[in-house]
């Protein structure tokens, strides 16, 4: 090698590293995630970069899917079945829900396949494995932002102004992220052991979409069943998006507070359980994968 070794004063050699069989009790070791934040950054960056590089259509491709879905849903549910959407134009009503839903479905899919897709990293380099599903959930945010710009365009076109509640949007995105991560952790870890999880996933996502008020509004559901609907955390996300963006023109413009709180609780529980299960199986990933 040419130059002289460079010293890094603020990177002192780490203290002695101990490797021992882990005890039965598993700690989440979230501090290690922080130590590896740069790797997380690079993995997200890689995912985003490769996704936009590989397709000739690039950004257009990212927009095609939600737009196509919106058109189909508008024809099918908006015109033929005349699903009530309050005073909001149905395309906007559907798109505001498709936005977080597509993010969630895509993230769940990517997270579920993430460990198996990164086998070469897992069997060769050490890092907290949590970084992999987390990076797949984060990289989907780029698509969300792009689709969001389109949504703003649609709102302008239909002349619908967002309410002041628009500042709540990041909270709903965060809820979608936590939900996707919570379920994604389960799927990713299960997928390492049982490869048919990947085949079940598209079917699961399809069913899940119809269980979530994407093509219809939760106001269509009788009042007494609504909290049941909220057991699905994506209900809170989707209704939250509609409320924040289209609040003015919805039939029921009250904030979905109860819905949201139930959704947050459920998704946090799923995330915690997912983290524990993931950490518990993590040590055998390299042996099983």
């Amino acid at each position: 090698m040419t130059g002289s070794p460079i010293s890094y004063p603020d990177n002192p050699p780490p203290p002695t590293l101990l490797i021992e069989p882990s005890s039965r009790r598993v700690s989440l070791q979230l501090d290690r995630l922080w130590a590896y934040r740069e790797l997380l950054y690079f993995l997200v960056w890689r995912d985003v970069k490769v996704r936009y590089k590989q397709t000739a259509l690039g950004i257009l491709w990212i927009l095609l899917q939600p737009v196509a879905s919106m058109i189909i849903f508008t024809l099918l549910f908006g015109y033929l079945l005349a699903v009530p959407s309050g005073d909001a134009p149905y395309p906007l009503f559907a798109f505001a829900a498709l936005l977080p839903w597509n993010y969630f479905a895509g993230s769940l899919h990517r997270a579920g396949a993430s460990l198996v897709g990164n086998t070469n990293l897992i069997t060769r380099v050490y890092f907290p494995r949590l970084i992999i599903p987390i990076s797949s959930v984060l990289s989907g945010l780029a698509d969300l932002v792009i689709a969001f710009v389109l949504l703003l365009g649609l709102m302008l076109y239909f002349g619908v102004m967002p309410t002041a509640a628009v500042w709540w949007l990041p909270a709903f995105v965060l809820l979608a992220l936590i939900t996707a991560l919570g379920f994604g952790l389960w799927l990713a870890a299960l997928n390492v052991r049982y490869r048919d999880v990947n085949h079940i996933l598209p079917f699961l996502v399809q069913l899940w979409m119809y269980a979530t008020p994407v093509v219809y509004g939760s106001s269509l559901i009788p009042e007494r069943f609504r909290l049941l609907l909220a057991l699905n955390p994506m209900t809170g996300v989707v209704e939250g998006f509609r409320w924040a963006l289209l609040g003015r023109v919805l039939a029921d413009a009250r904030p979905p507070t109860a819905l949201f709180l139930v959704s947050v609780t459920i998704s946090l529980l799923v995330l915690l359980a997912g983290l524990i299960y993931f950490r518990h199986t993590e040590r055998t990933f390299a042996d099983v994968i």
Partner: protein
């Protein structure tokens, strides 16, 4: 001791093998659970220790080699040290930043440019972004890829790819470096640079743990070496001694006798049955060593099922009690099928002049085996009455390790070329003034 870098104490790793495999799909797992809900795990399994009671220490500025036959636990050891998998028993202490080169280019993405991959790969290997930025030019210069650094690596040649990958890894500058077989890839020049780098790393006061099948590299680079066999340390000490010990003993259980019959043609009366490499005393060898005498033993048998007289009438057993071979060849090839050497009785017409027993072994002896480190394949051919009787391509393979071919106390290495020729040097005449 303060200059201790790695301390491994009674390390053990257990894998489950044998018995009934656990369910591979969720569907099977659910089915198992429904069928026999009281039985949580398949009970019949054999515990298999990939590593057992392994203890050693590596000091700073020391290169420790780890050698042993395939399946001896070398890779498991590296995987534990690099925290990819957990030990079942024992403990490891490592002082300082650990870098592992289990395979160069881990995480390279073909769609990204060389520049982007340097950052990505650096992050995967545990470098900080600032560190990579500070060393970026140096890395690119080391890889000699200045002009191509913004090109996607999918357009790189294999050589360019490897150079870039190694350059990143070489600039990692950890206090402890774990290396597995990187020396087996790339051309001779690249291998030389890898070796040079490794030496430099050790000289800079770091500890290196090198796992390799390249005995010359172990002997030249390492101060100390361990020999692993079936998960246990069977020798620990001076690297030269370790190499010799490994080459002499090796594992005896290698199933070198059975032939691979996938590529077989010919249906004459004589069939090949086995292939073994043996030493002068007739003991099977796990591998050959450049420069040593080697004896190939080829088993054959007259096979009634295929024995047809020229008239098509099956030959009786009596007439098969003795056979006569007109030619036997043993062709040594590279893994890709390139013929290297044809050892044939064609040039030794009297080799099997008389009648031979209906089954037995033929021996072909090569004094001072002239091929270098690597795996070679063997095609076997024989003819009876000038007609093809049996021809098995890639019938068997054997491994050759570098040895003291020239009898000068130096092991052959990558620079020695593929084929070794006995030769001498002298001053033929003085240069006229």
């Amino acid at each position: 001791m303060s200059d201790l870098a790695i301390r491994v104490q009674e390390l053990g790793k257990q894998y489950r093998s044998g018995g009934r495999a656990p369910a591979a799909t969720l569907r099977e797992a659910l089915y198992d659970a429904l069928r026999a809900p009281w039985r949580r795990q398949p009970e019949r399994h054999r515990d298999f220790w990939a590593l057992q009671d392994v203890s050693f220490e590596v000091r700073r500025s020391e290169v420790l080699g780890v050698i042993g036959p395939n399946g001896a636990g070398k890779s498991t050891l590296l995987r534990i040290l690099s925290r990819i998998t957990e030990p079942t028993r024992g403990r490891v202490e490592m002082r300082g930043r650990v870098g592992s080169l289990l395979e160069v280019g881990t995480g390279f993405h073909p769609e990204l440019s060389g520049r982007e991959n340097v950052y990505l790969n650096g992050a995967i290997l545990g470098m900080r972004r600032r560190e990579i930025a500070a060393r970026f030019d140096e890395i690119v210069a080391f890889a000699e890829l200045e002009q191509f650094i913004d090109m996607p690596v999918k357009r790189y040649s294999t050589g360019m790819y490897l150079r870039l990958a190694f350059a990143v890894a070489a600039h990692l500058e950890p206090e402890i470096l774990l290396v597995d077989e990187v020396l087996a890839v790339g051309d001779a020049r690249f291998q030389r640079r890898c070796l040079g780098k490794m030496d430099e790393v050790a000289r800079a006061g770091r500890a290196v743990l090198l796992v390799s099948h390249n005995m010359a590299a172990i002997a030249n680079l390492c101060h100390q070496a361990l020999v692993l066999e079936q998960g246990r340390v069977v020798y620990q000490g001076d690297a030269q001694t370790a190499v010799l010990r490994y080459l002499q003993t090796g594992s005896q259980d290698e199933n070198a006798h059975a032939l691979n019959l996938r590529h077989r043609t010919g249906n004459g009366p004589v069939r090949f049955t086995s292939f073994t490499c043996v030493d002068d005393a007739g003991n099977p060898l796990p591998c050959l060593i450049s420069g040593q005498t080697c004896r190939f033993r080829i088993g054959y048998a007259a096979d009634h099922a295929f024995a047809q007289s020229p008239t098509g009438i099956p030959l009786s057993e009596v007439s098969l009690s003795e056979i006569s071979l007109s030619e036997v060849s043993l062709v040594i090839t590279l893994p890709d099928g390139t013929n290297l050497v044809n050892l044939s009785t064609h040039f030794f017409p009297d080799a099997f002049a008389g009648a031979l027993p209906a089954q037995g072994q033929l021996e072909c002896c090569v004094p001072r085996f002239p091929l270098r480190f690597g795996r070679y394949f063997v095609d076997l051919y024989c003819a009876v009455n000038q007609e093809l009787s049996d021809y098995v391509r890639a019938a068997a393979s054997f491994e050759v390790h570098d040895g003291d071919f020239y009898g000068t106390g130096r092991l052959t290495r990558a620079e020695s070329g593929a084929v070794l020729l006995p030769h001498t040097w002298r001053v033929a005449s003085a240069m006229p003034e």
